[in-house]
Symmetry: D2
Subunit: 296 residues, 4 copies
């Protein structure tokens, strides 16, 4: 399984079941299905170390939202998806703390299309910390939100984790919401699935290459991670096609990725869905339509 | 072979040889290897209809330049690559015609990274037609060049071929140089190979979806095509891995592509190499270093 | 008056009245005020050559829409502005001609912010010509629309007029809608005023530097021009401040412009208003909200 | 003088002299002219509080480099300008401290063209901190550099000063080099002048709106500021034209700016000059030409 790379707890779980060749319950893991705003949701809970080891995922709750129909821009799918992200996120967020902002962090490299999800979500984050400080009465109904695009090691010389933990020591946020692009195993999940979890972001995830995890332990505050698989590692696809545990060596370069043809417009669409979803969860007084006009 | 899609004559030829299981010469096709500025060049000539049918390529000369070392930005590799593109292009260009511009056309969709090669090369094209008209003495040493990014059907409602043929009827260029992103069969060729040919661009090529060919027949003037493979169709990769003629149905969407992780910076680099190479071939009085400072 | 540059017929008319020092009617010119969707509209009609000479504007109807409140993003101002542009445009458009597209042309340089209005409107144009050709029944309710960003002389070596007239000879559109950035005399009009006219675009207009006019005479079809003033020439502002007919020589460079601090976001907002307004006028079956979700 | 806004010590000094109507030396201020790489340099030293009050500038050394000829891209002007910035910066930089990075900070809003200088310089900063940590031998000849674009209050909810001081507490840099767009009084200085100073960046400077200064006092380390005037406040221009101390109220909006027509390409060019200049000062083993190929 190690050679079939995925950042989705749902896929790890499915792969385990497939390899176990049975429907028995994996000890330490609980999974259940429901729907939200018409979209399927699977909640995988990694309850203990045994479950964490079996799935190669940290302990915590992983919510997977499948946004079928969104990419075809079915008429109400956009605002339904925004509301679904907001509602699922709300189940994971700790209660707000007065005078403490929520810090929304966009991870990833804006110059690499499938890795640009986080920086683009940052653009759609409605930050209010400065407005509440200046005009507390006018912004009484808003949550206190700050946001940053953390940059990548290659262009800053700083790990995302260093940037975020420096800010946390100064800002004392009530929680961090970190958004990043992920890697999936199945091409069918690309740009169609949103995973929300309360376990933070583990090292080596996604398209990028973070080494320090962002989680309660490293940052001292709860860390909610939101991710979308935007690539399948080409070697993972090949190993799956060949039904082999040994991915073939396809290329001598840093890596080849499989992405949808229209990845650029998919990333733009998903960054609005997730950005507005975060905004809606953090500023419950707003409607998605108002956000659409406020931010562009 | 139909199921293993490639726009490179070199790969079609290699595939034929591989399937023929021998080293016999394919009738109607001549191939030879040489070097230019230290880079390997393979010239494949499709001499007659039999050769054209065997390789599924129009009759003409296909020059393939392999730019190893460029992506590692080895120090002199950039200007060597520019000079190599210019020199190979010069062997295909018809002689200049007085008062007739060369029309350099960038094909493809600037909003889809691996399809943006043509529009980016357009930005690096040193156009002079208006300057020569205004200040003929000052620009006496320059070739007469016009350029356009032809747009794509989905955003213009016009086929690239319609746009270019309309302009040709007005401008009477001495030739058209058309630049486009291509599809390869081998991941090893991605962003490392430049194909130059005098056969125009055939329908269905590349990442995009042109239906009308751009060639001497449709435009009334010689058409030199320059292309770089930027994607491998995921189904082609799968068929190759499975050694099957029947590519598996990987996804129900428009298509999945395999690209290098750093496709964004590769495309920017290659568009400068090809843009400056075209400039150097059309304005032989300039040095690559001067172009680097003139254009950015 | 020559030294106080404006592309707005409304301003030319006001300047004439101001200089005439009276309220007498200018012969050959008729002006009247009304409102549309709550926004003020002034219609200036240049009726004959005398009026054209007095205002330095071609004969025709010039509608000026003042979009106060839009920049503050008052809640319904966006869709009201879209509907107002659509309604005013509809009064100028000739009746549709079967099998003849309307050609929407974005003029200007995308690399110069205040000149990028036209290219950005092009991105928001819902083109259908190819869809109607492929699926006539599905798109029965849509107008037939094609669109292009014509580029600028400095990057194509081609005048916008050459590109558009070449296409007109091939496509035989029923009319051309040309969008461009304009120069105003008053800073109060910057990014707040939309001028629509049926007189085409005259040479020397706007931020850019077109020399061939786009009008019925040069293109053979009706030309509706839509423009927004995005700059005031700094010399014009200086002449106004000094109340002098002789603008001071402020700088030895190509020119200095006065723009609003937030010109980048103003241009993005206005390009959506005008783009969706054009779409709504050409595809009356759509609502502005549907356009907002279809295009991004 | 308060109504004639400038961020350039040179202009403050000239204005004082002009108003003093004489050539007497201003107490507490010392100014001298020299050249560097063929470009004029003026060094203004604000020596004490009296001088600081007279010029409304913090105490320190202000070096002003006038880059005439650069915008016309005279052949050797680009690399001469890079070397001149590097040489002047070197006179202000404190000696390197082992295991302590220099932190290069890009200030300003990337979405507002004349304010985008800082974020663009960040892209041209050659960061090495992570490389030195990973491969100390390979990068033995390089300075230790980290870099960040600090974002703006409106999109992060965080003052630039908060972001930078948080990082300084974690990274303990040997110094901060902060790059920002400035406001000038004279249109002739726009995009032609580089000011380098060791006094940090004062609140209210430039196009943006920082409130916390970045200086030795707030950050605990030396702060070198590099700025280029990219706008003249339209009210300042008007006050100068009218020779009035009371700038006229030109517009009811946030502000109007005077900029060169080609501000977009000027900003791109200057960000490369300053970025490579910083790189050259911090990594003395590199040549400007190597930087040009390394970074793009």
């Amino acid at each position: 399984m190690r050679n079939r790379r995925t950042d989705l707890a749902l896929e790890s779980h499915q792969l385990w079941q497939q390899q176990a060749g049975q429907t028995t319950q994996l000890p330490g893991v609980k999974a259940e299905d429901r729907t939200r705003e018409g979209f399927p949701v699977t909640a995988v809970q990694v309850l203990d170390r045994e479950g964490a080891r079996a799935l190669d995922k940290e302990m915590g709750t992983y919510l997977t939202l499948t946004l079928d129909g969104l990419e075809r821009r079915e008429e109400d799918s956009f605002f339904r998806a925004v509301r679904a992200v907001a509602a699922e996120l709300s189940t994971l967020l700790p209660p707000p703390v007065e005078n403490s902002p929520v810090l929304v962090v966009g991870l990833g490299n804006p110059a690499i299309t499938p890795d640009a999800l986080g920086p683009l979500v940052h653009r759609h984050t409605l930050v209010t910390r400065h407005l509440i400080a200046q005009m507390p009465d006018t912004f009484a109904g808003f949550g206190c939100v700050a946001g940053i695009a953390a940059g990548v090691l290659g262009t800053t010389g700083l790990e995302s984790g260093e940037v975020v933990s420096s800010l946390c020591r100064t800002l004392h946020p009530s929680c961090v919401v970190a958004v990043d692009a992920l890697a999936a195993r199945s091409v069918h999940r690309l740009c169609r699935t949103v995973q929300l979890c309360d376990a933070g972001i583990s090292p080596g995830s996604g398209v990028g290459n973070h080494r320090t995890p962002l989680n309660q332990e490293t940052l001292g505050v709860p860390v909610i991670a939101i991710g979308v698989p935007t690539v399948v590692d080409a070697a993972t696809l090949a190993a799956d096609l060949l039904n082999s545990d040994q991915p073939p060596d396809l290329d001598d370069r840093g890596g080849l990725f499989v992405t949808p043809r229209d990845i650029d417009s998919q990333i733009r669409l998903l960054s609005r869905v997730i950005g507005y979803g975060i905004d809606l969860a953090l500023h419950p007084g707003l409607s998605p339509e108002e956000l659409e006009l406020l931010l562009d």
